[in-house]
């Protein structure tokens, strides 16, 4: 499974992305489970809101963190997210 470049990315309606005050981190919640996210993963997933494509997410994050060359890392992470059904493209 790979990300389709020209289609926007949705966050799964069967999962919930949430800030956890007690843990000071974002987590993904789903039936009987929870995944703790590091900061960069959380930044990427927050942008998966059905309006942005892969390229838009990359450029937005490069701008935000004032850097370049994030394409490979972000693509790889989104591949993992897709495999875990955290995100989808339909």
């Amino acid at each position: 499974m790979t990300i389709i470049p020209d289609q926007p990315i949705n966050f799964s309606s069967l999962h919930r992305l949430q800030w956890e005050e007690a843990q000071q981190k974002y987590v993904i919640l789903y039936p009987e489970g929870m995944v703790e996210l590091n900061q960069s993963s959380a930044e990427i997933l927050k942008l998966c809101d059905s309006t942005r494509t892969l390229a838009q997410i990359v450029s937005e994050l490069e701008q935000k963190f004032d850097t370049t060359g994030l394409t490979n890392d972000i693509t790889a992470f989104l591949g993992v997210a897709l495999q875990n059904d955290w995100i989808n493209q339909h």
Partner: protein, 378 residues
């Protein structure tokens, strides 16, 4: 409280709210305590709200509403709403009995995140027999409604000797119902399941055959359905890491407000499990004798104490050690290093011997108040 203070205590992540022991079903493997009929009192709505608030403040985020049958509590939507406002991810663990489309909508509105429906078998006859109540068709309807209203649909089937031969049909049923998650829970032998073990424990051959079928199915549906497979630890040579470590992650509150480090802890002697009517959740979690009892590794006996696997499995399940060896400090006898490991083989042999009988000699003991009272009298 005992005045114990331990600075290495991690906060609870999971709160299991057993709202009631009332249940119209009578599953002979029910994990409620055998003597549940003796605990008639139930926490009020306000008590539950306080429990939810306090546990959330400490860091609990996954919340299970279970029982008994949680739908028998009329205040369920109100509790769900409170949980949602606090930011819990809430799960309703139900037999489906008493569920209507109206209620499903009401709970959705209140903020419920998912519904887990249990089905006892893949055929009406066997389902209704195991449940002790006519319920099969309704359960399937509920599963469809859960799906229709956009919840992740979790189907749970408890596996034992009476239904293990239906594994292929159970899997087909899950697919047909469109389950997003399928929990295949091999029976864990506590509570009522312990009392009925001779009639419920599958043979090794049955178990292995079913496991192969389930594994093949898991690969087939990868990406569409997630399978949680709970292994029957009697056929393993290492115990499960019970509760992810005592007092590290899970907090169970029984219907009458007793706080339990695991849902069977009520049966362990001398734990003095505290009640939320007397203490705050923070006091219970940090200071109570019960929650500190098996924290860490100091309490362990040999062979666990000097074993290099103790951080992996914490010596196994305390309730199983107690039920099967009579000493809750012992190594879980499932472990092949346990000096009591032979009790597992005895259990397996005894179950196998009874599998060859006609079934009339020793009927299943169904979980109901009458049996609860009879069994606890002597």
């Amino acid at each position: 409280m005992t005045g114990l203070t331990n600075t290495n205590i991690t906060p609870p992540r999971w709160l299991l709210a057993e709202l009631t022991y009332a249940c119209p079903l009578q599953c002979p493997y029910c994990s409620n305590p055998i003597d549940y009929a003796n605990y008639q009192s139930e926490l009020s709505t306000d008590d539950w709200k306080r429990v939810l608030t306090e546990a959330r403040k400490m860091g609990a985020v996954q919340l299970g509403f279970s029982g008994g049958e949680p739908l028998t509590r009329q205040d369920l939507p109100e509790l769900v709403k409170h949980a949602r406002e606090l930011g819990y991810y809430s799960n309703l663990i139900t037999s489906g009995y008493g569920m209507t489309e109206e209620k499903i909508l009401q709970l959705k509105e209140a903020g419920l995140d998912h519904i887990q429906v249990s089905i006892q078998a893949s055929s009406q006859e066997l389902n209704d027999h195991i449940a002790g109540t006519k319920s099969f068709e309704h359960k399937k309807t509920v599963a469809h409604l859960v799906k229709k209203h956009g919840y992740p649909m979790v189907l749970c089937v408890v596996i034992h000797r009476e239904n293990i031969h239906q594994m292929p049909e159970i899997l087909a049923m899950a697919e047909e119902l469109g389950a997003d998650y399928l929990e295949l829970a091999n029976t864990q032998y506590y509570g009522w399941a312990h009392a009925n073990r001779d009639l419920l424990l599958p043979t090794k051959e049955q178990f292995e055959k079913a496991e192969v079928i389930a594994q093949a199915f898991k690969e087939k549906v990868a990406g569409k359905m997630k399978i949680y497979y709970v292994v029957p630890d009697f056929y393993e040579d290492r115990p499960k890491a019970c509760m992810n470590g005592w007092g590290t992650t899970f907090l169970t509150i029984a219907p009458d407000g007793v706080a339990l480090p695991c849902h069977s802890a009520r049966d362990l002697p001398g734990l003095d499990c505290p009640n939320v009517n007397d203490y705050s959740i923070s006091e219970i979690w940090h200071e109570s004798k019960a929650f500190n009892f098996f924290r860490g590794f100091e309490w362990m006996k040999e062979p666990c104490h000097s074993c290099d696997e103790k951080e992996k499995d914490f010596g196994g399940c305390r309730c199983q050690a107690y039920l099967l060896t009579g000493d809750m400090y012992n190594t879980d006898p499932v472990c092949s290093k346990s000096p009591n490991h032979e009790v597992i083989q005895h259990a397996i042999d005894s179950a196998k011997a009874s599998a060859n009988l006609t079934g009339e000699e020793k009927p299943l003991i169904f979980r109901n108040s009458k049996n609860s009272r009879t069994l606890t009298k002597n």
